[in-house]
């Protein structure tokens, strides 16, 4: 195999992590605490705190793998914001997840530039290999299959992302080979 299946620098696709549920209360609290402290602590200027909200949620999401309900409670308590409001903000952004997902996240780019250079065939092969549809998680908790819009490396489309590894110029035949690399 050539160039195609190697990491591309500089891009980190959304929501990439290895979730480790169940999370303990201490773990959640520590993650929230560290994210808030890094941004000046809960006593910071309210405007700055508000500007820091999404970065804080992103960091917690990255540390914990997703945003469990306890994380919202803790962020809300510290920043004095209603949990419902936090949840409404988080649910808007694709890189913030309110649900635990599989051990490996596969993201398939479904935008036009990848589509016209063979993306459609790769997508079919991928769904068949995993026996999953978009947004589904396998019953053994190994895979979550997601579609994504363009992640800006279409010069090597079709593009497929597993966790933090980006594969370009993917052919349908390579799909099983790529999947086999993951435990």
């Amino acid at each position: 195999m050539s160039v195609e299946t190697t990491a591309v620098e500089g891009i980190e696709p959304g929501g990439v992590y290895l979730p480790r549920p169940p999370l303990s209360e201490e773990e959640v609290r520590a993650a929230v605490q560290s994210a808030i402290t890094r941004r000046g602590g809960a006593a910071a200027d309210p405007v700055e705190m508000r500007e820091a909200l999404i970065p804080i949620l992103s960091e917690v999401n990255q540390t914990l793998g997703y945003l469990p309900p306890e994380a919202f409670v803790e962020v809300g308590r510290q920043l004095r914001m209603p949990v419902s409001q936090l949840f409404s903000v988080a649910s808007f952004y694709q890189m913030l997840s309110t649900k635990p997902r599989g051990r490996h996240i596969i993201q398939f780019c479904e935008s036009a530039p990848c589509h016209v250079v063979g993306g459609r065939q790769v997508w079919t092969a991928l769904q068949e290999a995993l026996k999953l549809g978009p947004g589904e998680t396998s019953s053994d908790g190994k895979w979550t299959l997601q579609t994504t819009s363009c992640i800006g490396i279409c010069a090597v489309g079709p593009v497929l992302v597993v966790d933090a590894d980006i594969y370009g110029n993917v052919t349908p035949a390579q799909v099983t080979e790529i999947l086999a690399k993951y435990q």
Binding site: S2, V3, T6, A7, V8, E9, G10, I11, E12, P13, G14, G15, V16, V47, R50, E51, A52, L53, I54, P55, L57, S58, S88, V89, F92, Y93, Q94, M95, L96, E110, S111, A112, P113, H115, V116, V117, R120, Q127, G133, P134, T147, S149, C150, I151, G152, I153, C154, A155, V156, G157, A164, N169
Partner: protein
């Protein structure tokens, strides 16, 4: 998390192997370890680098510099210069020659391709982006010095206005005019925002500017802030762009340390604080009012306009929002003058445009060329022709502001006015070039799926209209469409265009209209004859999985 910064490819075709490629590969690996770069640099052997004229060849990404023939003893220079110090090692470079496609070739050298003109990407790939001194040595912060010492804020704005610079974020709004609007607001607090949310499908120009030349954006933000009277700025960077964020963060720290950012810059009394704000995955946040909502820690739903951000922006204050590529033009314009800038491009669209070339062509990648070249030139010169000698059918110009451009328009100059006159749009600068295997129904379906998934759902015409239009297109593509569907699509397009709150919904109408305007016969074939002339569609009549 391991983030690979550079990718080194060593050719291992039989010819290269016979000439010591294996040893070159091994020595490069050793040197990478010796410089402690093993976690950042990935070294791989590949069968086909795209050319075979100076083997063994070594190609280094992301700049795609090609070295060759490389001898084992060259490994140290190559790793030290290119990977450790971050500059191209000219002595080892292979003679300039185009490649046979298949790989993205982001040309690192000015003038590599005929008529390419680099203004915003002038330094990308040439300087070390992590080194402010390298930037300064290449005319960096010269424009800032000139503005702060020789020019009043109004002079800066007038210079930009005279240059004819227009926004590169999609709409082509005159930048000088926007600056005047913010400058005339009589408020103590104002903001400038750099829109680096770049998520238009097929577009990655802003990423390469940020990664390759982060200080140019800092300098541009300073100029913009000085011009409009703002003392605080944000660069809103797409969440996935980690390397761009890392480099920018480092650049900001260096600029602060050297006094380019901070209080009383150059003793001028001008203060400026610059923040980076990372997005969290939402295409619509590229829309300027949604972006502002997002910085304020809210759902990124576009605001109703008016009022425009120039009056009521971030935290209710007058705010200048500009695209990365637009901003990157400010320092060269201030440095060289408006007249210099106007020599490039066309009378009504001055300067250059960065395009990403994609699709069924021999060479995909990125170019910066003067405004006004044609699609035919792009395809034949820069893309090295259609792949496998197939015929060009259409191009899609990317993102919410793009159009479907039929082959009959391939001689229309690509500038704002000529395209507007022809009823099409340059979009974000992505050029997705398609051959006859691309079915227009299928393409429109993919584009509509994008709008449908990215609609923020705030207003009905957009939320319901994109979904409904997708269903209809899906039916047509399955061979179960009706002729009345075409009228329905037309009605939906009108509704989207007229009643949507923001540009996303408004421009979701464009693919439908372009499809019906230029390719009606092909669409009707799907309905009347139940065939897909391009042969791309299953025409199975079975509801698809999505």
């Amino acid at each position: 998390m391991k983030a690979v910064r550079a990718l080194v490819l060593v050719s291992n075709d039989p010819d290269s192997l016979a000439r010591g490629a294996q040893e070159v590969y091994r020595r490069i690996q050793d040197e990478v370890k010796a410089f402690g770069l093993q976690d950042e640099v990935s070294v791989t052997m590949v069968a086909d680098i795209g050319r075979h004229d100076a083997v063994p060849m070594v190609m280094v990404y992301p700049e795609a510099v090609v070295y060759g023939p490389v001898k084992p003893d060259d490994a140290r220079t190559l790793v030290e210069e290119h990977l450790y110090k971050g500059r191209v090692a000219p002595g080892l470079m292979a003679p300039a020659r185009e490649m046979t496609g298949r790989i993205a070739w982001l040309s690192a050298r000015k003038g590599t391709l005929p008529a390419e003109q680099r203004i915003v990407l002038e330094r990308a790939g040439i300087i070390d982006p992590d080194d402010i001194e390298d930037y300064i040595a290449h005319d960096g912060y010269l424009a800032l010095g000139k503005a702060l010492t020789e020019m009043k804020p109004a002079d800066v704005i007038e210079e930009i206005a005279r240059s004819g610079l227009r926004g590169r974020g999609g709409a082509g709004f005159p930048t000088g005019t926007k600056m005047r609007m913010v400058a005339r607001e009589n408020k103590a607090k104002k903001y400038v925002i750099c829109n680096a949310d770049e998520s238009e499908p097929g577009t990655f120009k802003d990423r390469l500017i940020l990664e390759g030349d982060p200080h140019s954006i800092i300098e541009a933000m300073l100029l913009a802030g000085y011009a409009v009277g703002a003392d605080e700025g944000f660069v809103y960077v797409r969440g996935e762009y980690v390397l761009a964020q890392t480099r920018l963060k480092k650049a900001i720290a260096q600029a602060e340390e050297m006094g380019f950012l901070g209080q009383d810059i150059f003793g001028s009394g001008f203060n400026f604080k610059l923040h980076i704000h990372s997005g969290a995955g939402a295409y619509v946040c590229g829309e300027e009012t949604a972006l502002i909502e997002s910085i304020e820690g809210k759902r990124g739903e576009p605001r109703p306009r008016p009022p425009y951000p120039t009056q009521v922006g971030l935290w209710g204050k007058p705010t200048l929002v500009n695209n990365v590529e637009t901003l990157a033009n400010l320092p060269p314009i201030i440095r060289n003058g408006a007249a210099w800038f106007k020599q490039f491009g066309t009378p009504n669209s001055a300067g250059t445009k960065v395009y990403t070339i994609l699709g069924n062509v021999n060479m995909t990648g990125l170019i910066e060329v003067p405004m006004g070249i044609t699609l035919r030139e792009v395809i034949s010169i820069y893309a090295k022709g259609m792949r496998d000698g197939r015929a060009f059918k259409l191009a899609q110009t990317g993102g919410s502001s793009g159009s479907i451009i039929p082959a009959v328009l391939q001689d229309t100059p690509m500038d704002f006015d000529s395209y507007a006159k022809a009823g099409v749009s340059l979009g974000s600068g992505a050029l997705l070039i398609c051959n006859e295997d691309t079915c227009v129904v299928d393409l429109a379906k993919v584009l509509m799926n994008f709008f449908k998934s990215e609609s923020c759902g705030r207003c009905g015409p957009c939320r319901i209209g994109t979904d409904r239009a997708y269903q209809i297109l899906d039916h047509i593509s399955q061979g179960v469409g009706k002729l009345s569907d075409l009228n329905d699509l037309d009605t939906l397009a009108n509704g989207l265009n007229q009643f949507s709150n923001c540009g996303l919904g408004q421009t979701a109408a464009v693919p439908i209209r372009d499809m019906l305007k230029y390719f009606r016969a092909e669409v009707e074939a799907h309905i009347k004859l139940k065939v897909c002339p391009a042969g791309a569609c299953a025409m199975s009549g079975i509801a698809s999985r999505r």
